[in-house]
Amino acid sequence: MKQSMNPITRRRLIRGGVAAVAGVAGLAVADRLAKRYGLIPPDGSGIYGPGETLTYACQRLLTTRTPAREFSRSMISKNPFANAVAPPNDAFKRLAAGGFRDWRLVVDGTVAHPMSLSLADLKALGLHSQITEVACEEGWSYIAEWIGTPLSGVLREAGVLPQTKYVVYTATEKDAWESIDMQDAGDPHTLLTMGMNDGDLPVPFGGPLRLRLPRQLGYKSLKYISRITATDNIKKFGKGLGGVDPEYGYSWYAGM
């Protein structure tokens, strides 16, 4: 009777110890496997690191190579919401005045042929269209048709080198940059977008050039893209978290 009054018996202690050792060993093995197969996101450390890593690793294992949801033409939103953007700087205003003829997309980093492409050059690579949803992390969403050229084609033209792990993209807006892994970079829906709903992409929606990434939340679809940098070391950029949003506490992987 006295034995059962005491919740900590020897057997329980041993059982608990074995479970704890197995747990720690399991975590160590999982950590090594995750590192080996590239399942740890750039912001996979710190107190939210385990959650970020679990989400990214599971999404990569479960949802790789599945195309984004596409919608019928009748579902295109009549009144899409552009969200607020910072007022354009003088350089942007000059480019806009010239009808964005002088807009350039610089492609550099771990590529065989660094390039500088105009919008006409991008269009010459072949236009694709998709009807996909923009989902903001705040909760709202809309559907539009997006017209542009897949990022994968541009990377192919530039001859992206085999050691490349991430593609960093930078906007003309101050300090706006983000990055994606090679799976998202190679996704046919990852679109350098120049048109929306059968017209030119309006400036409030990111015109003249927005990187649309329909399998991730809206904040990864940066507006006003001016530079694409392939890299094998994401830690060299900014604070090493893979984007400016992670520096403000937002997840690098925004497929969730």
């Binding site: 009054m5 989902a135 705040e138 991730q216 506490g249």
Partner: protein, 231 residues
């Protein structure tokens, strides 16, 4: 088993606080696939938002804490899901679900529910606690509440949560289509979280009524005062 209860409790509180924080960045709800400030909402929570783009008649903006709120929301969701997995496997294996949670076959009728409600209303239970069989297990109302929370509401929260993930729904489009769209999933997620909060209130109130200290001791240590193992 008790550890999964407390892990889930901690995760639930974190999910509730961060979920509320995320809601104030867009306190408007819609039905269907899309919804934004340019479309007609199903309903609007009349609170100031943390974003200036939401036109809700306030000149005041709430602090925007979405970054860490979202990170903690998903991390806590992982804790809840993993604790739920352990609990589910153990519950099946140990017979806890069969013995303690699924209402007995003879209670699968309205009369059993009515009788138990009448009993509550008449306070026929002896002073200071439940009687007879109920002292060691749960009555039909408790069982039903727990079954609904564990097997309906928590799975529905996980489902509607995943149905808001653009890459998860890319892989499994039916998870969002069955719910009627992304915004419907968000609205259901919000309502079920409210029901879970209601359950939490009633659950804590019931624990308090049946003797807060002894129930907490039982749920933390696994032993009741007389040294016998608690259910």
């Amino acid at each position: 088993m008790r550890a999964t209860h407390w892990l889930t409790f901690v995760a639930f509180v974190a999910l509730l606080v961060t979920g509320g924080e995320i809601v104030i960045s867009h306190p408007r709800f819609y039905w269907g696939e899309v919804g934004n400030v340019n479309t007609k909402p199903l309903f609007v929570i009349p609170i100031p938002s943390s974003r200036s783009t939401v036109p809700n008649g306030y000149n005041y903006e709430m602090p925007d804490e979405n970054g860490w709120s979202r990170a903690l929301h998903f991390e806590a969701a992982w804790v809840a899901v993993l604790a739920g997995l352990v609990y589910g496997i153990y519950g099946l294996w140990s017979g806890h679900f069969r013995k303690d949670l699924i209402p007995a076959r003879r209670d699968w009728n309205w009369r059993a529910y009515r009788d138990r409600i009448v009993k509550y209303l008449r306070r026929t239970t002896p002073e200071g606690g439940p009687d007879g069989a109920e002292e060691r297990s749960y009555n039909v109302l408790q069982r039903t509440a727990y079954v609904v929370v564990i097997f309906v509401m928590f799975p529905l929260m996980i489902w509607t949560g995943l149905a808001m993930s653009p890459s998860f729904t890319a892989a499994f489009p039916w998870t969002v289509e069955l719910l009627g769209g992304r915004q419907s999933a968000r609205t259901i997620h919000f309502f079920v979280s409210g029901l879970l909060l209601l359950f939490l209130f009633v659950h804590v109130a019931m624990v308090a009524l049946s003797g807060f200290r002894s129930r907490m001791r039982a749920m933390i240590t696994g032993y009741t005062r007389d040294g016998e193992e608690a259910p």
